[in-house]
Amino acid sequence: MLDLNFAYRICLEVSKAIIVQPPVSDPEFYPKAQKLQEKVNNFPESYIEKTWIYEKLHEIADISKMIEYMRVSVSPKAPRPQELLWLIGHNYFHIEEINVPVKAKKKVKILKMQGFLKKKELEKEEIVEETVEKTISRLHLYPLRQWRYPRALIQGYIDFQFGLAARYVLDRLKWIVNNPNCLERQFARTPMQGDYGVGSADPDGQSPCIRWSNFINIEVPVQNHLELLYKQYEADKANLEEVKNDPLTWF
C-alpha cells in the first residue's frame, strides 16, 4: 500500500512540473525559446554576419612552426601537413595557454655626454630590443595515423597571438564535426580500424577529419567582431540556461 501511495505522489509531482504554464503572457514564448536554442546549438555559424571582416586562419596564426616542428622534432621524413588528414573529433584537439619569450622593441631614455669642448649631459631616446614573456594560445592537432608513418607523427600545434581566435577555430571545428551538411567534414578509418580510406559519409566508428587546405582556410572574424560574437553568444547561452532551469519555463 505504501508503494502505491509513494508512486502516486511522485507521478503527481512530475505531472505538476509538466502541466505548468510559463508566467510570461507571450504566446510566442516557446517558439522564441526554441529558436534561441537552435541558434545557440548552431554556434558559431549562426552568429556570423556577412558584413563582418574575416581573415583566413593561415593569415592570423603561425603555421610555419608546425611544419618545422614536424620535420625537426618528429622526423625529417615526416610528411607535410597538407599530405595528412587532421582528426577533429572532440578528443583530438584542445587549446593550451602558454607563456613564450618574445623579442619586443622598447623606447628607453638614455643620458649621454655630448659636446666637443664642453661636455654636456643630454637625454636621448633609443629603441632597444628586449625579451618579454607573452601568453599565447596553442591549438594542438592530431593527424590521422597512416600505415606509412605509424610512429612518426604524434601531434602538431599552431600558435595564436590572440586567444579568442584560437577559441573560435576550436568552436568552428566542433561545429564542423557536428554538422552533417558541412562539406569540410570527412571520415576516415585509422590504421587500427583496417584499410585507410576517406569518404564524406558518416559510417560507424570512423574518425571525423579535415583536410589541411580546408583547415588553414577557415575564416576567422577580426578581433572586434570576434569579441562581439562571443559576447552575444555568452548572453544568449546564459539566457537559455535560465529559461531551461526555471521550474516554470523549463523545456
Partner: protein, 182 residues
Amino acid sequence: MLGSTPSRIAQCICNELGIVEKRKIGLLIGGSTHPDSWMDFPHHFGKDKEIFNNIVQARRSYLQGDDECFHFLGIALHYIADRWTLRPRLSDKHTEWEKNIDNAPILDDSKLKQAIFDASIPTKTADDLVNFVDDLKRGPSILIGQDLVMVEKFAYSLRWIVLHRLVLLGARRKSLSGVLHC
C-alpha cells in the same frame, strides 16, 4: 503492475490537477496503460531513457499547446509508477502482489502518515517516510539537502529539473530500500 493501477493513478492525477476535458483524461489514461502492450518488460528498472524522453516530449508538446502531451505524460507515469513499486521475483507472488497493489487505496497525507506509523517498521524508518511525504509536497525545495550533493553532478549534466527531482527521490528511496513494500 496491473493495467487498472496506472489508469487509477492517472485518474487521481486528473482529479488533483483539475483536468476535466474527456479527451485529455482519455489521453493520459491511455498513455499510462500503453507500455504494457509493447512487451518491453521489465519496467521496474532500466527505463530512465524512456522516462526522460517522454517527460521532455510531454513538456514540449504542452508548451506548444498540443494535447498529445497528456499521452506522453501517461507513458512516463507508467514507467515511473512501475519503478517505484517493488517486485517479488516469483511469478505467483508477483501476481498476488500486483493484485494487492491494485486493491490498495490512494490515501490522503494524514491517512498515509497514520498507515506508515501502523506498519511494522522501525520508528526511525517510519519517521523518515513521514518526512518524505512532507518533502514531496514542498516541490523544488526538496532539492535542498545533503542528498543534493550526491545527485547534483548527474542532474546538472542533464540540466533538467524534473529528472533532478526524480533522481533525488530515487536516491532517497534507495536508502529506504526494503521498507516500502510492507
